[in-house]
Amino acid sequence: MMKTKLGRLALDSPITVASGTFGMEYFEIMDVFDAPILPQDKLGAYICKTITPLPKAGNPPPRIYETECGMLNSIGLPNPGLQCFLDEELPILLEKLSIPLIVSFSGGSVDEFCMMLETLEKAEGIAGYEINVSCPNVENEGIAFGADSDVLYQLVSRLAPLTNKELIVKLSPNVTDIGRMAKAAEAGGASSISLINTLWGMAIDWQTGKARIPRKVCGYSGKGVKPVALALTYQAAQAVSLPILAMGGISCWQDALEFIYAGASAVAVGTSNFTDPGAPARIYDGLLEHLKAKGSGIKDLIGTVS
């Protein structure tokens, strides 16, 4: 009933956790946390924080600000770099995970993306990749490749021949025509797409005139972005036949179901993990109960909005 498929990957659950919101620090505390974090019997896959070729410290603080309806962030992809990920983090992930591991990565050039993928391909235990071409908070990685459909096509068409594993391209909502970007990913050889990364967002302290985040414009996520994410999921689903991993403001099972009707084959919980660490489990339970009552499986409902 909850089984779904994301390109080459068969998932036991349509619920996953969005890259960057469910870092492996949770593995350190899961045994001492009095809440069901990382309920692997209820998650379809685990997507790690984005890895870059070299270590990144991230952006200067303050990095987050809570707005009226959602959250601004300018974290800046802090990560230990590819080599440390392979040496130190991957063994822990493989030991702890019983669900498919999807590695999110980014790079500063097409060659860097290719080097990352070729290196990751040599490691055992990775089920798929999420190519981050949509982070709004870094200068060189990611968004430089996700804002132009020709550039995106060039990148994906170089990456696709390098792997037989699931190849997800994570798209930015900050584009004029999401359908065009989805088609570029499809033509390049992606096996699925994920959306949305964060929207451009900004907050200003009206008393001082100072931006709340040093980089001024940053990423906006949480409840407020859900209608935008839903519309972009629908538009992308209309444009391509690739399966979609959708996310953007999902905080309850009803939200997850709306994304499935819009065209998602699976969904990811992101910002809600910070306001309710038990959200993914709660969303799974609610969705399962609903589907049982309805007598439908996920696959019957994908993209059936009327």
């Binding site: 620090e25 946390f33 410290a57 987050i64 910070f274 306001t275």
Partner: protein
Amino acid sequence: MIWLKTLPIVHAQRLNAQYTVLTVEDKDLAAASHPGMFCELRAPNQEGRQFKPISIYGVEGTRLSFFIKSVGFGTDALCALQDGDTLEMMGPLGNKFPVFAGKKALLVSGGVGYPPLAWLKANLPDGTTVIHLHGGASSEDIFDCDISCTMDGSEGHQGLVTDLVLPLIQEHGINLIYSCGPVGMLKKLTELSGDIPHFVSMEAYMACGVGVCHGCVIPVGDGFQRVCKEGAVFDAKLIDWRQL
């Protein structure tokens, strides 16, 4: 353990228009809490909003209290809670103040930096000489302490707490400093403390509270450290204050 609990408020004490002390009862949380630690708190009508990191003000038996200042929608909702209302909380989180025997300690707090130091003061080892210097904008920001300062002169010395630090260090032979308060105060205090060991409890906007999101970092050494995980208490000399 990190507990995620919804607890009834056994006492909500409105100190003035800005500050409220909320007390809950829970033997697990009380036993695991130490001065310097904090909890993530949320009022029940704030579902979907982020928890707010609030330092623990004190533990008495199985009761924990939180001293909260209204500064935005999350803390406004917390300060409006009354006896019998519920409080969502996650904790205890972060590290604790290191303590040393036989020291002459100066505690310096500003505004809502008061509560962790007030609790630390009550828990320093026997034989510690302690002076708690506390400052704020006006008398509304002043609570029980040894020496107080206000910007408007409505209580205690008129001016900044940092105006009084050097004479106190010299007069009392201070050899340990603890602090919590606005960044400007902490920066100045770090300059003034010289070689004296100085531990500071830092404040930051926070999302997850457990080290996952990397949202609450401060510059430490040549990188960043998380206020929620490596802190909230840091060696003040390791913080790169120029970036704050």
